[in-house]
Amino acid sequence: MKAVAAPDAGLRSIPALLARNAATLGNRPAYREKEFGIWQCWTWSQAQEEIRALAMGFLALGLNRGDHVAIIGRNRPAHYWSMVAAQMCGAVPVPLYQDAVASEMAYVLGHSGARFVVCGDQEQVDKVIEAEGEAHTVEQIIYTDKRGMRKYDHSRMNWLRDVQAEGRVAHQRFEAELDARIAELDYDSTCVMLYTSGTTGKPKGVVLSSRNVIETARNSSEFDKLKPTEEVLAYLPMAWVGDFIFSVGQAYWTGFCVNCPEGAHTMMTDLREIGPTYFFAPPRVFEGQLTNVMIRMEDAGRVKKWLFDHYMRLARRVGTALTDGRPVGAVDRLRYGLGNLLVFGPLKNTLGYSRIRVGYTAGEAIGPEIFDFYRSLGINLKQLYGQTEATVFITQQPDGQVRADTVGVASPGVELKIAENGEVFYRSPGTFVEYYKNPESTASTKDREGWVATGDAGFFEPGSGHLRIIDRAKDVGRMADGSLFAPKYVENKLKFYPNILEAVVLGNGRDYCTAFINIDLTAVGNWAERNNIAYASYQELAGHPQVYETIRRHVEEVNASVAQDPMLSGCQIHRFLILHKELDADDGEMTRTRKVKRGVIAEKYADLIAALYDGRTSVYTETEVTYEDGRKGRLKATLRIEDVRTTPTSAQRMAAE
C-alpha cells in the first residue's frame, strides 16, 4: 500500500504527508482525545482542516519563516497540530517538558528565541511569563485551555480556538501564502528542534531535518510493518524525541491514529479503553505495572491466587517461546490456551495490552524477569536502543530475536562501529543536523563523515551479533587496581529488584565499590503493611533494620551475579547505604527522563560518600529538598552504612585453591 512506498518528491515534509493522508485516508481516524467523557475523534481530513486553520491563524499573528514556536503542555491533539501548523508556516516547533520549572524553561526560551509559545493551560502560561521575566522575548502566547485565563492581559495572548477561528475567516487572505510556504519545505528544512535534557550541563537543542524524521519513520515503520489501522496512546512527554517519532513521524508516515488520554490521573483507564496495538513505554512503566499486579494479587482469594501462580509458572516455561513462535509441545499449547482464557487474557485486558502487536521499551535496561513476564503473556515487547541525535533508532530487536540483555541489531539504514575504548558510533539518515547555536559540541559529537558518538560503551555479542550496552562511555572508569568500573551495569542489576527504585554505584578510582540505594515506596510500603510495620515517612521506612536486611540480601545476590563476569567482577559492592530521600529531578539529581546525574550527586552527597569509604557505620547529614510547590527545605537524617559480603570470582577462587 501507498504508506510504505519510497518517498517521492511530494512526500518530503510532515505537511506533505498530512495532505497525502487527508487524500488517501480521509475518513480514517487521525486523532482521538478523551474529553468530556468520550473519545472525541478527528479524521485525517478533519485534522488537516484544523491544522490549516491554525497555521493561517499563526500567519495572521505574524509567524515568520524560521521562527521557533515553543509548545508546552500535555499530549493533546491541539498541541500536535500546533507543531505541524508551525512547520506549515516554515517555522520550527520546539516542544518543551511541561514539568520543567520556570528556570529551566527560561534557558530554553532564551536559547531558542521562541517568538510564539503554545501553552496547555494557565499553569504553563504563568511559568512562561515568569521565565521570560522583564525580557518579553515572547511575542505571542497561545493557550489551549481557557480556564482561568480571562483575567490576563490579552494584548499578546490568544485562545488557540480563537486563533483557528481567525485563520478560518482569513483563509481568503492566507490560503495562497500558506500553500506557498508549505511548497517551500523540502527534505533539508528543519522539521523539529528537541532539547536533550543532557545528563550534564545545559540542555542542547537538537535540530532534526525532514529527512531525518521521514526516513527514520519510513524505515522503522517498514521494520515492524506498521499499518494505518494501528492505535497508539500518546502519553510520553512531547518534548521527548520518541514521542515525536511515534506520534508524528510514524503516525503521519503510515497514517495511524494517535490517542491522547484525558489526563495523567486517568492514563491507566484510558490505556485500557483504547487498547493500543503499537505501544512504547520506558522500563519503569512496565516495572511499576508488574509491581502493581503482584500487589493486587496479594489480596486475591486462594483459588485465584493458585490459578494465577500456576499459569504464570506455565507461562514462564513456554510463554516466551510461543510469543517468539518457537516450537512448543501440543499439551503445553493446550494448557497455555486454557491459561490464556483464565489468566493471561483477562490480565492483559485489565492492563490494556490485549491488542498490542508491537511494543517497545528503551531508555534504560529492563529487568529480565519483568521483560519476560510481559513476553510470556504473549505481548510482543521488544527493546530498542537510540537517542535524540539519531532520531531515536540506532538498534532494535527483530521479531523472534528478542532478549532482555541485548538491544538488538542495527536498525535499517544505520551503520555501527565500536571504538577501541568501547564507545559505540553510528551513522544513519536519521543523524541530526546540528546542535542549535552550538557548533563546537556539534563538531565534538559528529565527525566529518557523519559518525556520531553515542557516549555509550558496548560490544557486539559474538554469535547473535546483537549489540550489548554496558554503560555510559564516560562513566566506564577504572578502579584503583585498574579493573573495569561500569556502575550502570551493576545499578541495573540492582534496580531489577522491585524493592529497589534507584541505585547509584560509586568507586571510580577507588579500591572498592559502594552504593546509594533508593527503596521503592510502593513495593516496600506494601510489604511493611502486610507485616504491619508502621512508618511515618519514606525516611523512616528506609531506615528500618528489616528493610536494610532485605536490601543487603539483594546486594549480595547482585555481587554473586556480577562475579560471574570476570571483566566486571571488580564492581562488586562492599558497602552501601539507603538514602533518606528519593532522588528527584526537581532537586537536579536526575534528568527529566530519570537518568541519574552522577556529577550532581557526587558533590551534593560528598559527606555520605566520604563516610562510605572511611569505614564509619553511620553518618549524619542535612540535605536541601524542593517540594512540589517549589518551596525549599532541609532534610536531616542519620544514615546507617552496611557492609556486604562479596563473592570471589572464578579466577580468585582458582588462585585460592
Partner: protein, 290 residues
C-alpha cells in the same frame, strides 16, 4: 460532537452583568462590574408556630456579586435560604426576583425561574450515579414528551445528548471526570459537596444559593471549594448567595455580607464594614461563650 463547539463559558455565561440603566451598580475591588438588583427581600418575617425564625429582614442581591449571609448557629440563615428558594413561605414580607414580586408558588416553580441551590446536609440522590445526579439539574429544560421518551423518539435522544454535553463541561470544570459513573452514595463528603455544586450549576441558574458549602471540610477541601466558587462567579458571571458559619472563609470570598443573629439582621455591608461592626463582634463573641 465537534471539538470546535464553544466551551461552557460562552454558552452558560449570561451577558456580563453591566449595570442596568437606572440601577446603581458598583465596581468591586478586583474590578468586576456588579449590576442591578437581582433578588430583593423585603421585610421578611417567618414563624414556626410560636417561634419566630426570621424577624423583619430586608436585603438585596445584585447581579454578578457574591453575597454572603453569615451568623452564629440558629441565627436563621438556613430558614432565610429556604424562604429565598420558596421552600418556606414567610408570614410577612415580599420576595422580589428580577424586578417582579414573587407570587405564591411551589418550590419547583421557583427553581424554574432560575434559582438553584445546594443544601447544608447534602441532598444528593444516592441511588443515582454522579452523572445522573448532575443531569437532574437540567430536568427543568427537558422538553420531550413521555411518549417520545418511551419510544426513544424525536426529541428524547437528541435532548439527552445535548444536555449530556453541557453536563460534561461542568464535570470537566469541577474536575470530577474520574467519578463520573460512580454512585454518589460511595463518594467521600468533600466530593459529594462538589457534585451538589455541579448539579446546581447544571441548571444554569440566574442566582446560585450555597448553604454552608464548606461545612465539615478540611482546609484544602475548603480552599478547593472557595476556588470553584470564585471561578463559577468569574467564568459564568453567576450571581452567588452563600451561607457560611465560619466568618473567615466568607470574608475573602464575598463582595457584601449580611449578618444575622437570633433571626434579626445585625449587619450588612462589605466584609470590612461588617468586620468592624460592634454588634457583629459581640454576636460572635457571644457564640464563643455558649
Amino acid at each position: 460532537m465537534s471539538p470546535t463547539s464553544p466551551t461552557i463559558l460562552s454558552e452558560l455565561a449570561p451577558p456580563p452583568a453591566a449595570p442596568a440603566p437606572g440601577t446603581d451598580g458598583y465596581i468591586t475591588a478586583d474590578g468586576r462590574k456588579i449590576g442591578g438588583v437581582l433578588m430583593d427581600l423585603r421585610h421578611i418575617t417567618l414563624r414556626f408556630g410560636g417561634v419566630t425564625a426570621i424577624k423583619d429582614i430586608s436585603f438585596d442581591i445584585r447581579e454578578g456579586e457574591i453575597r454572603a449571609i453569615i451568623g452564629p448557629n440558629g441565627a436563621g440563615k438556613s430558614s432565610m435560604m429556604n424562604v429565598m428558594s420558596g421552600f418556606y413561605v414567610p408570614q410577612e414580607g415580599e420576595v422580589w426576583f428580577r424586578g417582579a414580586k414573587r407570587p405564591p408558588m411551589r418550590p419547583y416553580q421557583v427553581a424554574r425561574q432560575g434559582l438553584a441551590r445546594t443544601f447544608q446536609n447534602i441532598a444528593l440522590f444516592d441511588g443515582m450515579s454522579v452523572l445522573d445526579n448532575i443531569m437532574t439539574g437540567r430536568l427543568t429544560m427537558m422538553k420531550s414528551s413521555l411518549l417520545e421518551q418511551a419510544l426513544w423518539w424525536g426529541r428524547a435522544e437528541a435532548e439527552e445528548t445535548r444536555h449530556r454535553e453541557q453536563v460534561e463541561k461542568i464535570i470537566d470544570f469541577l474536575e470530577i471526570q474520574n467519578i463520573r459513573k460512580t454512585p454518589v452514595g460511595r463518594l467521600p463528603y468533600g466530593l459529594k459537596k462538589r457534585v451538589e455544586l455541579a448539579r446546581a450549576l447544571a441548571a444554569e441558574p440566574k442566582l446560585l444559593m450555597l448553604d454552608e458549602p464548606m461545612a465539615g471540610m478540611n482546609v484544602e477541601e475548603k480552599e478547593d471549594m472557595s476556588r470553584f466558587i470564585l471561578d463559577v462567579n468569574d467564568e459564568f458571571g453567576t450571581t452567588i448567595a452563600l451561607i457560611e458559619h465560619d466568618m473567615g472563609v466568607v470574608m475573602d470570598l464575598s463582595d457584601r455580607v449580611v449578618v444575622m443573629d437570633y433571626g434579626r439582621k445585625i449587619g450588612d455591608g462589605t466584609p470590612d464594614e461588617v468586620r468592624n461592626n460592634q454588634e457583629v463582634i459581640d454576636a460572635y463573641l457571644g457564640v464563643a461563650h455558649d
